[in-house]
Every structure is written in structure tokens, then in C-alpha cells.
Subunit: 350 residues, 2 copies
């Protein structure tokens, strides 16, 4: 699974078109910031880390698609490209982080004389974009390796949503990293993927991703998460996280909380997998607002109505799992066990 | 809400076409066993009690649509009508129960001389069909009245699937009976309805039914059941049941178990509502096979694919909630509290 490929010979970026998944596997080849911005806007690429990587390469193409004469002109082009890219998804933190990072690096290289020509600047920026990708992959590999200690041969893992390599752009992922590392090492492992309404990331993306990698996966309706645990079909639960507080409260895709409570009740381990960048050591649980999205996401599926018109809908995007239900948090710096209010700071701040 | 209406002046049965809900509210008027059998087959009417009532009136129409000359001929016509009706849904127990009941009654009336003419026989069978409807409504009203003691003014009830008046044909229902009785009495009550994948009975039927009755209802994705309870938006959970064992294990629509576990964990009461006929005092929990349905129900929604073709699916129809998570069982004979292994027999066998 390769959602993002940089073609260094042609200076183009090939993206697996995620907006067409899982019905069509098509790739788009992009050569300039405008095309890349449009691909981000049209959700051909999605997931915070994947958008960051894509945007970083988008900055590179500002200089390769129409190569400037001078370094001054190069900085102008990069400044303009940043604007074009940033407006693609105005709320995506990773996007502006990546474009700011690339622009600031470029300015530094020019000011400090590290880049003496436009070509040298392009090489340095290519290296930086690759580093964003490599750092992400490295962190995920680490999570995968740490997580491996929680997987036994023959295990079945219940997940939620898509915290896989499509979302991160590396092909590996966070919650799915241990499963993929295990599979690479020849350890027998399979996954149960709940469809994850309303957006169906489970049925559309997780299932696609695992089938592509040859890892056995079974799709269930969200209603069946309880029964599969009750029937002993699940050895552990592994999910991603959108935000983890210093006391161990885990914010993740809606539906995570129910898996955690049932797992806890039935003695099944529940693991959240997330990079250190996910931790928010400042907010308290009461401070975090749970975003609500368009009611039509629940009233329709792929544009087809499934409920009476105008029905009142509550459509929260994520839920919060209290630390009591979390067996451990797996990061690229190691596994964090309870008591979380002590141990999270130890790892995050080290 | 009137899903089944017998028009005594015209000898016709009017059914709310449930196969078109919630997108179209249309009624079909039927006058003979063939038409009624076809309506059952096409799921224009569904739900065990509703099918039973419909089939009973189907037997009546065997004699009203083309009135026979003799009582002998009448019994022949009823025997034929039973065959036509029974084949509409071969696994529906209520269907064959209702048609057998009507045919046996008819034979008895003729043999014992209670019906001295075809017209007298028609009147007696109309009375019997009406009694099936009335007994159902009476039982549901009783459940509603018993359940009322668990509802406070301003309460919000979380349910699952559709255990409402559409399924029973009376317009009242089982799990929704207390809510409807409360609403009739001017007690403020609202409902949160999970969509209930894969069949979406929540978004298609429960929501339609409550909107029709003017009872406030909020639709959620199945993934959001945990969060609504966590956020204190739910005062109690009320669900129906397909089968209840003598020790209190409740078999109900897939997704019920997760609601029960979370409610238990958060101190929210969980009630199963079901008539005495739902109790199975013979089986042990290990003996009950959980039916699995067509994987395409999970792979598609209203015919539209939502997952990669050929993905492996586990699609169980119901799950089992152990007695530990059940606060009480509300029946037409009263409320049953733990210890269920003692108290269920007391009520059911009395």
C-alpha cells in the first residue's frame, strides 16, 4: 500500500485517489502546487499526517514545475505556493505546519548561504520533505514494534475507523502498525473492522487497506462490536487517537468509547496508539469541545436518504474514553501504562 | 399511527406500506387472501405480531371476497387461504399460528353448530381476528402502563431497532409503549434512536413512527450510543426482545448488548420490554443459535456498495445481554426484577 509516492526523476507526486476508494484504485500524478492543493481539497488525500507530507512535496513542486531564475524569486514562489496549499483545508493543522516548516527552512537556507543556487535549494527542500515522510514512517514503525509485544500468534484485533497507512500516507499507520509489522514478520494476525458510521472509514478504508496488504479482515456493522467481544472473537482492541490528555482521557473517532467499556467489562485489553504529537498536556477533559458535523451525514449514505427528511440528528465526530478503560497507550517512545496522570508526562516530556 | 385497519363496511384490510417507509406514506387496500399474502411477502407489513394480525384478517377475506354457498365450501376456502398465506413468509411463527387458529376455530364453529350459516361464520371469524388485534393492543397497553413507572417528566429514552407500533401492527409497540402512553398523558418524554445497521430500522421506522406521533426524537449513528450516555443525555434504555430465557438472558436486535453494558457501567437503568410469549423457559444460553444474515446487508446500503467487493463479513442478527446488565423486564403481567432465575418463572407461569 503506497498512498503517496514522490517521483524524483520527474519531480511529480503520485497520490492514491482516496476519494474513489474502495470502489476504484486510481492514482493521480501531480506536478505543481495548484494541482496538489486541489487534490487535498477534493479529499483525494486525507488524514492529518498524509496531508502534511503531501503539502511538503507541494512546496517542492513550486520550484520544480516552473523553476525560478533567482533565489529571491524562489522564496516568492514558495510564499505564494504556501497560500495556495493552505487554503485547501483551512482547519488542517498538519497542512500549515508542513508549509510553514518548508518556507521557513527555505528562507534560512538562503539567508545562511546554505543554498547558493535554486538547484541547491530544491535539493535541500526535497530532503526536508522526505524527512517529514521518513519521520512519520519511523514513528509508526516504532509504534508497530512496541505494539508487537501485545500481539500473539493467531490473535484477532478489533479496531475502529481508519488509523491506518491511508490516513498517515506511509502505508503503515498508527493503530494498524502492530498488525502490519506482525504480518511482515510472519505472525498470524487478523482484524475485525467495524464500518464506522457515519463516514464508513472502516468499510471503505480499513478493509481496503488490509485486503491490499493481504491481512485477513472481517467487516462488521457497528452494532456487532459487543457480540464479537462477548463471543471471544477478539484478543485485543487497538485504536488511534485524535487527542490524549495528561490524565489519559483519549479522544478518538465516535464509537471508540463503547469498545473500551465493553473490552474493560469483558477483560479484553484496550490500547490507544498515537504519536507523541497527539498529547495535549494543557487541556482538561471539560475544556475539549466535541465537534458536531452535518446532520445529513447520518440522514444519508453516499447521498442516498435513509431517514425521514428533516429528522433531528445528533452527529458528534468523536467521543472520549476515560483512563479507567485504557489498558495502555502505545507511542513511538514506548508504552505508557497507568497511572497515566504520572506516566504520560514522564514519556512525553522526556 | 395506524399500520393495520380493518374496514368492516367494505370487508377490506388497509395496510400502511412499510416497504416504502420512511420515504413515502402510502396505504394499500386489500380484499382477498392472495393480495394479503403478496403484501406479507413484499414486506409491506412486517414484525411478528403485525403479520399475525394481518394473516388473521386474510383468513376472513377468504369468505368475504368470494362468499361460498355452504359451510363445507367455506372450510375448503379457508384451508386453501391458509396455504396461500402461510407460504408468504415460511419462517414467521405468528403467521402460521394465526392462520391455524382461525381455521381451527372455523372448523369448531361448524362442527359444534355455533355457525349455522356462512354469514354467521364470517361474523365469528371477524370477532376472532379482532380479538387477536385487541389482545395484542391490550398487552402493549399494559406494558406501557407498567413501564410508565420508570419514566419521569422530561426523560429521554434510548432505544434500539424498532420495537414500536409498526412492528406489532397496533401503532403502540413494546419498547416504545411506555413512551407513547406517557406522551398521551401529557408527560414530557423524548427518544434517542440509533439507526441500527445493517437494516436501519431505527432511522427508517422508529424515527418515522415517533415523528408521526409527535414525540420528539433524535437520530444518532450506532457509533454514538456511548457518547450520549456518557454525556448524561439518557435517563433510561428501553428495548424490545426476541427471546428471554428463564435466567434473564435477553436476545434482541444486534447492538442491544453494547447499550446494556454501557448503561450498567454508567448507572443508567436498562429495561427489556416484551410480552410473556417472548419467554423461552426451556433453552439454555448455549443452546440458542445466533442467526447470521446475507453479508451484502453490510456491504451495501439500500443497494449502494459501501465496501470493497467480496470483503469477508460477519453479520449476526441479534446479540445476547446477560442478566447482570438488565435492570428489569417489563411484561404485560408486571415488572420482573432480579434475581431473574427465580422471578421470571413466578410471573410467566402464574
Amino acid at each position: 500500500l503506497k498512498p503517496i509516492i514522490w517521483n524524483d526523476d520527474k519531480n511529480t507526486l503520485t497520490l492514491l485517489d482516496q476519494s474513489a476508494l474502495p470502489f476504484e484504485t486510481t492514482y493521480v500524478e501531480l506536478k505543481d502546487p495548484e494541482g496538489i492543493s486541489s487534490a487535498i481539497k477534493l479529499m483525494k488525500v486525507r488524514g492529518a499526517p498524509a496531508i502534511g507530507i503531501t503539502a511538503a512535496y507541494g512546496m517542492v513542486t513550486a520550484l520544480t514545475s516552473d523553476t525560478p531564475e533567482t533565489l529571491e524569486e524562489a522564496i516568492e514562489k514558495l510564499t505564494k505556493a504556501k497560500k495556495v496549499l493552505d487554503q485547501a483545508r483551512p482547519t488542517a493543522v498538519n497542512l500549515t505546519w508542513a508549509t510553514s516548516n518548508m518556507l521557513n527552512n527555505a528562507k534560512k537556507y538562503v539567508e545562511q548561504g546554505e543554498a547558493k543556487s535554486v538547484n541547491e535549494l530544491i535539493l535541500l527542500l526535497k530532503r526536508d520533505a522526505k524527512k517529514i515522510f521518513d519521520d512519520e514512517l519511523e514513528a509508526e514503525l516504532q509504534m508497530g514494534i512496541y505494539g508487537l509485544e501485545k500481539i500473539n500468534d493467531g490473535d484477532t484485533i478489533l479496531t475502529q475507523c481508519n488509523a491506518g497507512g491511508l490516513a498517515t500516507g506511509t502505508g503503515l499507520g498508527t493503530a494498524l502498525a502492530p498488525v502490519k509489522v506482525a504480518h511482515m514478520l510472519g505472525i498470524k494476525v487478523s482484524v475485525i473492522a467495524p464500518e464506522t458510521r457515519p463516514w464508513l472509514q472502516g468499510s471503505r478504508l480499513t478493509v481496503y487497506e488490509l485486503m491490499t496488504d493481504g491481512i485477513p479482515v472481517t467487516l462488521i456493522a457497528d452494532t456487532a462490536v459487543g457480540l464479537v467481544m462477548y463471543k471471544g472473537m477478539v484478543n485485543s482492541v487497538m485504536v488511534g487517537a485524535d487527542r490524549i490528555l495528561s490524565d489519559g482521557h483519549v479522544f478518538n473517532k465516535i464509537g471508540t468509547f463503547k469498545e473500551a467499556v465493553i473490552a474493560h467489562e469483558l477483560g479484553i485489553p484496550f490500547y490507544a496508539l498515537a504519536p507523541i504529537s497527539t498529547f495535549d498536556l494543557k487541556s482538561r477533559v471539560e475544556d475539549v469541545k466535541i465537534e458536531e458535523r452535518d446532520p445529513d451525514e447520518v440522514r444519508t449514505i453516499r447521498g442516498i436518504p435513509i431517514a425521514p427528511e428533516g429528522v433531528k440528528v445528533y452527529n458528534p465526530v468523536f467521543d472520549v474514553t476515560p483512563p479507567k478503560y485504557v489498558t495502555a497507550i502505545i507511542t513511538e517512545k514506548g508504552i505508557i501504562y497507568p497511572p497515566f496522570d504520572k506516566n504520560i508526562r514522564k514519556i512525553v516530556e522526556k
